[in-house]
């Protein structure tokens, strides 16, 4: 393919077949070629950084050549990887949304990484020891390692310091509870400026509703079993009512669905004083926010708790032994403390390895950017990201209902009931194969 690139795209079509044949005929000493799919979770800039990393890896050794393929959003990446695998062209390594592991394992698309650990003469416990404890649950499925955390995030409350001063609030004391949040938001709302805003597009909304229901004492899903979600429960109902109240009762939040891009734009423009966004947006906000801002924990109603977000590296089923070995080698290189730390500083995600934070560059970075420290301090309260059978569809079942509520078409009580019904239907096939399958 490299030769084809040099010749220009024009020749690609006609020469692709010949090249494939030529590649197949190459002697055995040729390097193992593997494919690596990655989504662009933040900006185009990250795609370039990822491409640079892969190039660095390819130049650093001779055994493996990685082709990095940019594959759209997290959901598109899953679709493409699964379609490619079904068509007999599984990618070797994929950077996959960390909560897709259960679903992908149940469908048999990804492979257990235990044999690789065994070949390296290490155990799962030893391997995971250096990763933050909150990340383990999403990396392990049914007691076996399936994903290696690559970049992770939690939701974070970003607030405009100048608006706080203007409204007579102390910027050193951001709201810590839902009551304080609603109270501050009321004081901050003025004219066309909203006191509070949160993204409500697909994926983001489900994650933030998980954060709110967890802060309300809930769990969102059964971490041990992929066939249960807790939508029609007090913890989620309270979270849904809270959002509904912020919009319709307190009138501090814009009615309707705002996408993440719109939320950060509103925050930059001073049209929203407090926003819930991912820690993954930290670098972007640091670079673009002109007024002074600060960050705080997600406010709680019952307890402090946030879900993990981000992505893990997984390996697909159906690849050759050589390809597996090469893929595992690449994963290990991508997840060294140095690489993870560098990626973390570049993106704003936190590095999944604790030892990344012992490096001098990282200590210097945190000293310079105290907001990155808040994200880190919130980690002890982090819990696993929801992962069930048919994760995406089950998540959308809730998101569709909450969006209807945010548009004023449904009441919170009805929304969580309908979401539960839809989710139960979606998980029924799995439930009937497992917990309802009786002797």
């Amino acid at each position: 393919m490299i030769i084809a690139t040099r010749l220009g795209p024009k020749w690609l079509g006609s020469t692709a077949l010949a090249l494939t044949i030529a590649a197949a005929a190459m002697p055995a000493w040729a390097q193992t070629k593997i494919e690596f799919f990655f989504p662009v979770p933040v900006e185009g800039k990250l795609a370039r950084e990822m491409t640079r990393l892969v190039k660095l890896y390819n130049e650093s050794q001779k055994d493996v050549e990685v082709t990095a393929a940019y594959t759209g959003s997290y959901d598109d990446t899953k679709l493409k990887a699964q379609a490619a695998a079904k068509a007999g062209k599984p990618p070797s390594v994929v950077l996959m949304s960390a909560n897709f592991n259960v679903d992908l394992k149940l469908s048999g698309d990804i492979i257990s990484l235990e044999p690789m650990l065994k070949a390296d003469e290490t155990t799962r416990e030893d391997f995971l020891k250096d990763f933050w404890p909150a990340l383990h649950a999403n990396a392990v499925v049914d007691g076996e390692l399936y994903g290696v955390p690559f970049h992770n995030s939690t939701p974070l409350l970003y607030y405009n310091v100048e608006h706080f001063k203007e409204a007579g609030l102390d910027p050193a004391k951001p709201p810590r509870t839902w009551a304080e949040l609603a109270d501050a938001a009321k004081k901050l709302t003025k004219g066309d400026r909203h006191g509070f805003l949160m993204p409500a597009g697909y994926d983001y909304l489900g994650w933030l509703m998980e954060a709110l229901s967890m802060s309300n004492g809930g769990r969102y899903f059964n971490e041990e079993y992929g066939g249960e979600v807790y939508y029609d429960q007090p913890s989620m109902l309270g979270a849904a009512r809270f959002v509904e109240d912020l919009i319709f009762k307190h009138k501090v939040m814009q009615q309707g669905v705002t996408e993440a891009g719109g939320v950060s734009t509103a925050f930059f423009a001073g049209k929203a004083s407090m926003v819930l966004l991912s820690t993954g947006s930290l670098s972007f906000i640091r670079e673009n926010m002109k007024q002074s801002y600060d960050v705080a924990f997600v406010p709680k109603n019952v307890r402090n708790a946030v879900p993990i977000g981000g992505a893990s590296l997984v390996m697909f089923a159906g690849q050759s032994e050589d390809s597996k070995k090469a893929g595992w080698k690449f994963i290990k290189w991508l997840t060294t403390a140095e690489t993870l730390g560098g990626w973390s500083r570049f993106t704003g995600y936190f590095a999944p390895r604790k030892s990344s934070y012992d490096k001098p560059e990282m200590k210097e970075f945190i000293a310079k950017n105290p907001d990155a420290k808040v994200a880190l301090d919130q980690l002890p309260y982090a819990k696993p990201w929801f992962a069930t059978y048919q994760t995406v569809a089950v998540r959308k079942a809730l998101e569709d209902e909450i969006q209807a509520m945010m548009n004023g078409k449904k009441k919170a009580d009805q929304a969580v009931k309908d979401a539960q019904k839809k989710a139960d239907e979606l998980m029924r096939p799995y439930v009937e194969q497992t917990s309802l399958k009786l002797p």
Binding site: P9, G13, G44, T67, A87, S281
Partner: protein, 279 residues
């Protein structure tokens, strides 16, 4: 009163139409304005339709630097032109067969063919991808094109076009001893031009804008098409949008199509109005 009416109504109509046209055009206007506005992310007047006093090309520079647009244009062009070229042959021949040839089960076959229109393309992703892999076309541009070589819509359109043509011309040619291919090439196709042009417009826009299928087939950056290249800007899951760069990138992607359609608009319309077919 009557004179007032004569002036009032056209004026009202024009005003109403302008209002609707403005509503319809405002996204394009905004894209145009935003792409030249300095300071991409989050300037307060980002949503404004008023052009900035100090227009800048910075956004275009950033967009162009974010991807190899030359390569993307080339790849998209290869796909669009390649698909259309093959389609022109297949749909005219199939349309001719369904319109003129007599064979048992013709209508049934035609309706079966039309059923394709009912299928949602995403449902076919996996089977199509398997075929593309079997053909050795995975991660190649011909792999992107292959599923579109035959088109149910095109076949339908050409069949209807041929049916509307009087048989006299063909019969005259046949009497002069023209074989079937000469009849199609010299007699029918020139008269069916409006149908072909209409189909070409649909085909070009569809494949220029297509995202999901190319994303499924293509992995190597060298084979990326424009839409995949553009997605790098638009699919930010966890961050804000750099609206200016986004607008500039969008303009870069749609510009060639927009320019072509504005330039040839007259011609497209003419080809429908003044075609040689007058019964």
């Amino acid at each position: 009163m009557a004179r007032l009416d004569r002036h009032l109504w056209p004026a009202l109509t024009v005003a109403l139409l302008s209002a609707v046209a403005f509503l319809w055009a405002s996204p394009f206007l905004w894209t145009l304005v935003a792409s030249f506005r300095p300071e991409g992310a989050g300037s307060a007047d980002m949503a404004s339709l008023l052009p900035d006093l100090h227009p800048t090309l910075e956004n275009f520079r950033n967009a162009l630097e974010s991807g190899s647009f030359g390569l993307y244009y080339m790849n998209t062009l290869i796909v669009v032109v390649g698909v259309l070229a093959v389609q022109c042959v297949t749909v005219s021949l199939a349309g001719y067969a369904f319109a003129r040839l007599r064979f048992p089960g013709r209508d049934l076959l035609f309706y079966a063919f039309l059923l394709q229109l009912m299928l949602v393309p995403p449902a076919l992703i996996v089977p199509n991808l398997a075929t593309v892999v079997d053909l050795g076309l995975y991660d190649t541009l011909p792999g992107v094109m292959a599923p579109y070589f035959a088109s149910a819509f095109g076949t339908f359109l050409m069949r209807q076009t041929f049916l509307a043509l009087p048989r006299d011309f063909e019969e005259a040619a046949a009497i002069d001893g023209a074989p079937w291919w000469a009849i199609i090439w010299y007699v029918l196709l020139p008269m069916a031009k409006p149908g072909l042009v209409a189909f070409a417009i649909v085909s070009i826009t569809a494949h220029w804008n297509e995202f999901l299928w190319p994303l499924m087939v293509i992995s190597s950056p060298a084979n990326h098409t424009l839409t995949i290249g553009l997605a790098a800007f638009t699919l930010g899951a966890e961050s804000g949008k750099e609206w200016g760069v986004l607008a500039a990138g969008t303009l870069l992607v749609m510009a060639p199509l927009a320019v072509a359609f504005i330039a040839f608009q007259r011609r497209f319309v003419d080809s429908f109005v003044f075609s040689g077919v007058k019964g």
